[in-house]
């Protein structure tokens, strides 16, 4: 590797850089639109230090500096320090538990001078690196159950601490690492089980328990009836079927109600119930309803940039952070929203393409991790603004206002670019 003689940008994956810049710029423009008032002087306001978009501009500049620094480092640094960063990240999370600051009910912020900083964002990066390091190490045989459990633990320990900080939304993001593990050989049946789990939870919440019990019993009876020949051949089949039946029953009757009354916070339960249309709580429905009005009023072509009335007059809460998609939906309509989502899909597919061309497992695992995290954020965030998911406070990657989030995603992507540029090397 003799970079000093070669071109400085040699090996950089320009499509990803382009998509990255496009999203950040759309983000800043949307934050501007969310804060813009008709009477404001636009040019005066661009340099207004008290507004979110000018702060986001500063964060963007800082991100570019950070990106350049990452580009200039050696790839081996990331493999070498992955575990160290992971442990450091965990310590930081524990530190927040102790001396963190409460912001809107979540105890996940650190004050550094006058800056607020959310370590739960940063640890996504640490976790991704550590996971890549573990799976790619020569001692790891990912077909073994033990290795899979260790990998799951690496992903879920930070999530556990983050739940203690009352940032359930960010904790859920860590489940996106299972997508990576699936790619690396976790049996596909787990995806099916996870999906059935979601269906079970939803049905437990939506359908009356007695009816559900009858449905389960009928299904089990039918399954036994149709597989009676196999059961005759192999008695253990019956045990398995009855076991699944018993588990589903227990799950729906006891585990879900227990989680809802004891584990989840009141407001979280309410949000989920609102999303399912079960409860009509004014405060919980308000955000979703206003955001749906804003997006729905966009129509096909949208109202035009800076012309949205709902987002501009503060009807939508949190509109430069978690509900930033409202601005896009209202100003640019269905047409703009589809193009916007298209940019994300292009970025995700490009990252997967880059992942598949690697020689080293480390980079491939890392790349899938980046894709998984972005995908999870994107789907939960957008689904939330259109009433498909409960209100979970996680930002739209690269677009939402927030320094911790923008910096973290910048680092995630530029470390990937750095690793990809060195794809001829075998990194462990």
């Amino acid at each position: 590797m003799n970079r000093s003689q070669a071109k400085l940008t040699q090996g950089i994956d320009w499509p990803i850089v382009g998509l990255y810049l496009a999203l950040v710029i759309i983000g800043i423009m949307s934050i501007f639109a969310a804060e813009y008032r008709g009477d404001d002087n636009v040019w005066m306001d661009i340099i207004h230090p008290g507004k979110n978009y000018s702060r986001q501009l500063i964060w963007f500049s800082a991100s570019l500096v950070l990106a350049s620094v990452i580009w200039l480092t050696d790839s081996k640094l990331f493999t070498a320090t992955a575990n160290l960063l992971y442990v450091g990240g965990l310590l930081l999370l524990l530190l927040v538990l102790g001396i963190g600051k409460d912001v809107k009910g979540s105890h996940s912020w650190l004050m550094v001078g006058s800056f607020q900083f959310q370590p739960a964002e940063l640890t996504k990066l640490c976790t991704n690196l550590a996971l890549a390091k573990y799976i790619s190490s020569q001692e790891t045989d990912f077909t073994k159950l033990r290795s899979r459990l260790i990998a799951a633990a690496i992903a879920l320990v930070p999530a556990g601490i983050i739940i203690l900080q009352s940032e359930t939304g960010l904790a859920l993001v860590y489940f996106s690492f299972f997508l990576v593990m699936y790619r690396e050989g976790l049996p596909g049946v787990l995806l099916v089980i996870a999906f059935s789990g979601i269906v079970l939870v939803l049905s437990a919440l939506l359908v009356d328990r007695t009816i559900l019990f009858i449905i389960f019993t009928v299904i089990t009876a039918l399954v036994i009836y149709f597989s009676r020949r196999e059961i005759k051949r192999k008695r253990s089949r019956l045990a398995i079927i009855l076991g699944v039946y018993a588990f589903c029953g227990l799950f729906v009757m006891f585990i879900v109600p227990f989680a809802f009354t004891k584990v989840l916070k009141d407001y979280q339960v309410r949000r989920i119930e609102v999303m399912l249309g079960k409860e009509n709580d004014p405060k919980a429905t308000y955000n979703t309803r206003q955001s749906m009005i804003a997006i729905g009023s966009g129509g096909f072509w949208g109202k035009g940039y800076l012309k949205g009335t709902q987002t501009r007059y503060d009807f939508v809460p949190e509109q430069s952070t978690d509900f930033i998609f409202c601005t896009i939906g209202e100003d640019f309509g269905f047409f703009g929203s589809v193009i916007f989502l298209g940019i994300y899909v292009a970025l995700l597919f490009r990252i997967i393409f880059v992942a598949e061309r690697q020689r080293s497992t480390f980079t491939r695992v890392y790349a899938y991790g980046v894709a998984g995290v972005i995908f999870f954020h994107l789907s939960i965030n957008v689904a939330m603004t259109i009433g498909l998911a409960p209100v979970i406070g996680i930002p739209l990657p690269l677009v939402s206002y927030g320094g911790s989030s923008l910096m973290t995603f910048t680092m995630l992507i530029f470390i990937l670019l750095r690793l990809d540029a060195d794809r001829q090397m075998v990194l462990r």
């Binding site: 008032r37 009477d39 912001v103 009509n280 308000y286 009023s297 929203s337 589809v338 989502l341 899909v345």
Partner: protein, 645 residues
């Protein structure tokens, strides 16, 4: 390897595409198929109306409403639509000039922008509202009248307990933690019960969407109210307070500065809490709120200062029962212990005078208490703190004594459910070490034995100590709210816990209680007697000092009386303080006695009406202070204003 995993890559891509297609489908329905969202956003078609919830009502122990809601109107403006109207006429009705009109419109634009409503004139006085309502059609659609609830106090009493509400300040709105659910223009409790119970009283605002016709008149619910959220009324509070007792207390303290605190020892529920002189809480509602507030704030009699929980006094002789309890519990005296007082205590360098000379007036604890012998309690105090088993006063004696006092609820906030409670002061070893640089002994603090010296208590603490004596060692944290309707909070949990303190023997309490009933039977507090009720009490006349023209001067004594009744099974315990008046027996005891009679017998007997009248007419406030005070005229105005509509 890469080839082997190809299908997995495809599966992941499919998951991503599937999710995005799901989102796009939803967007398609939301943005293109469904038209009602677009219409909701159209301010010309659908009117978005905020519905304010009614604030919780407060009831007294007999379920009489003592704090309710009235409706006044705000004039609100939407600057963008406020064009082509008769500005001069509007200004005329509102009594403002054109300059002021322009300024308010500008403020509204700065605050909320052109298309949103802002308050133009808040809480219109009834006569302005009447005029405006007749000609409102001239100013629509830019201007509108919006009903607004204000608080009303039918009994014109309990101002300092109930507190007041006011509009949220910009500084509070910026605080996203505590006040995140409030919007500009919201009202919230600033003091008293309104503040402590804000979360349950406030309720939740709702939103209504109404279809408008081409003249901007609302024509009914949009989409059958599918998008509306109903306002949720605040929860009602039920107090242990007896409003009639409270009103009587406020009358009794008229023309005096002082306080009355009456507590039910069985529950800790406060029956009355008076801070005199008091003001009519209706002064702090409606359109004159801020003007009245500044008048009350600057008044020489300090009516906004809740003396019952914020003021601290030396308890004087009313402290002697506590001294006796400590002495008995430490075993330094027994109930039969006597002291040969001959008119003064000579144990320390400076003699402490006693009111009695006759030998035998302090022959035992009962006699000493009923005669309030200074020598006796100075001596008992010194015996307690110098007791050998604690290694003397500096090693453990003083601290042990201070610990007893802290157990009795002195020297720290007790935790009543209204804000700004005072701590008082109980001096301990650290205090004297700091103050006298290590060179002090029991003579330095001997005045504590007669409730003077550094010791300072709030009236609430004194009344709570009476609960402890009456209950023989236990109390509930004094509180006003006995229940909240449909309560799902834990606000009241701490008031349901019985606190056992100091663990002093029953015989010690019996001795002290006998002494205190003797005080009213045959001692210094005979004036407090009520037919058929045994009262335990103690008089006190507390010396106090203040700064007059910068010089520390001895002021007229505070009259203090503490009591509980009936002595066998107390249902009321109270402390009465009349500042700078004179003897406790003369000024405070009659007030306490009348309060007890009213609460236990429901009326004041005809025989005692003259006493009631004379107490109400007694004025102890300084004449020069009264001359500068506007409180009476303010209170009278409030009453007149209320009777008119």
């Amino acid at each position: 390897m890469s080839v082997f995993n190809q299908p997995r890559k495809r599966v992941i891509q499919m998951i991503i595409l599937g999710m995005v297609i799901l989102i796009i489908t939803r967007l398609f329905f939301l943005q293109i198929v469904e038209k009602k969202y677009a219409k909701l956003a159209d301010a010309n078609a659908v009117l978005r109306k905020v519905v304010y919830p009614s604030r919780g009502i407060i009831y007294d122990r007999q379920n009489r409403s003592i704090l309710g809601n009235d409706v006044l109107y705000d004039l609100v403006v939407t600057p963008a639509s406020a064009k082509n109207i008769d500005t001069a006429y509007l200004c005329n009705i509102l009594n403002i000039d054109k300059e002021e009109f322009r300024k308010r419109i500008l403020t509204a634009i700065v605050k909320n922008g052109r298309v949103r409503q802002s308050v133009f004139a808040p809480l219109l006085a009834p006569e302005i509202f009447g005029k405006l309502q007749e000609s409102m059609y001239l100013f629509q659609p830019g201007f509108e009248l919006v009903p607004r609830q204000i608080r009303s106090y039918p009994y014109s009493a309990a101002a300092n307990i109930l507190g007041y509400i006011a509009e949220i300040s910009p500084a509070m709105l910026k605080d996203t933690g505590v006040y995140s659910s409030y919007s500009s223009g919201d009202y919230l409790g600033f003091t008293g019960l309104e503040k402590t119970y804000e979360p349950v009283l406030m309720g939740q605002r709702g939103i209504q969407y109404l279809v408008k016709d081409n003249l901007n008149r609302p024509q009914g619910a949009y989409e059958n109210g599918e998008f509306d959220s109903a306002a949720v009324a605040g929860k009602n509070l039920r107090l242990s307070l007896d409003i009639e007792l409270q009103v009587l207390g406020e009358k009794l303290l008229k023309g005096k500065s002082g306080s009355i605190v009456a507590i039910d020892p069985q529950t800790g529920g406060i029956l009355a809490m008076v801070s005199g002189p008091s003001f009519d809480p209706n002064l702090l509602t409606g359109s004159n709120r801020s003007a009245n507030f500044s008048k009350l704030y600057t008044d020489t009699t300090k009516p906004l200062f809740n003396r019952a929980i914020q003021a601290t006094y030396p308890p004087g002789s009313t402290f002697k029962p506590m001294i006796a309890l400590v002495g008995l519990d430490e075993g330094v005296i027994t109930p039969s212990f006597g002291y040969p007082c001959s008119g003064a205590y000579y144990g320390c360098t400076r003699p402490i005078k006693c009111e009695h000379h006759d030998p035998g007036h302090a022959a035992n604890l009962r006699l000493a208490l009923s005669h309030s012998c200074n020598s006796y309690f100075s001596h008992v105090y010194r015996l307690s703190v110098d007791a050998a088993k604690f290694g003397g006063i500096k090693v453990g004696g003083m601290q042990k004594w201070a610990d007893y006092m802290n157990n009795f609820g002195f020297g720290h906030k007790i935790g009543v459910d209204i804000p700004s409670e005072g701590r008082g002061l109980v001096p301990d070893t650290k205090y004297y070490d700091a103050r006298y640089k290590g060179s002090w002994n029991s003579c330095t603090s001997v005045f504590l034995g007669i409730g003077q010296g550094e010791l300072l208590l709030t009236p609430l603490q004194m009344a709570n100590a009476m609960c402890i004596v009456a209950n023989r060692g236990s109390y509930y944290i004094p509180h006003f709210v006995s229940s909240i309707d449909n309560d799902n909070t834990h606000l009241l949990d701490k008031y349901k816990v019985k606190h056992d303190v100091a663990h002093i023997s029953d015989t010690a309490y019996s001795a002290v209680i006998h002494g205190m009933t003797d005080v009213v039977e045959s001692g210094t507090g005979r004036i407090a007697q009520i037919e058929g009720i045994t009262i335990g009490g103690k008089t006190g006349t507390a010396e106090n000092y203040g700064f007059v023209n910068g010089v520390r001067t001895k002021l007229k004594n505070h009259a203090i009386f503490i009591a509980f009744a009936p002595a066998e099974h107390a249902r009321i315990a109270l402390a009465v303080i009349v500042e700078n008046s004179g003897f406790g027996a003369k000024y405070a005891a009659p007030i306490a006695s009348l309060m007890i009679e009213k609460y236990l017998k429901d009326t004041i007997s005809t025989k005692r009406q003259p006493l009631l009248k004379s107490v109400m007419e007694t004025v102890t406030l300084d004449a020069s202070m009264l001359a500068k005070s506007h409180l009476d005229s303010l209170n009278n105005n409030a009453v007149i204003k209320k009777k008119k509509p």
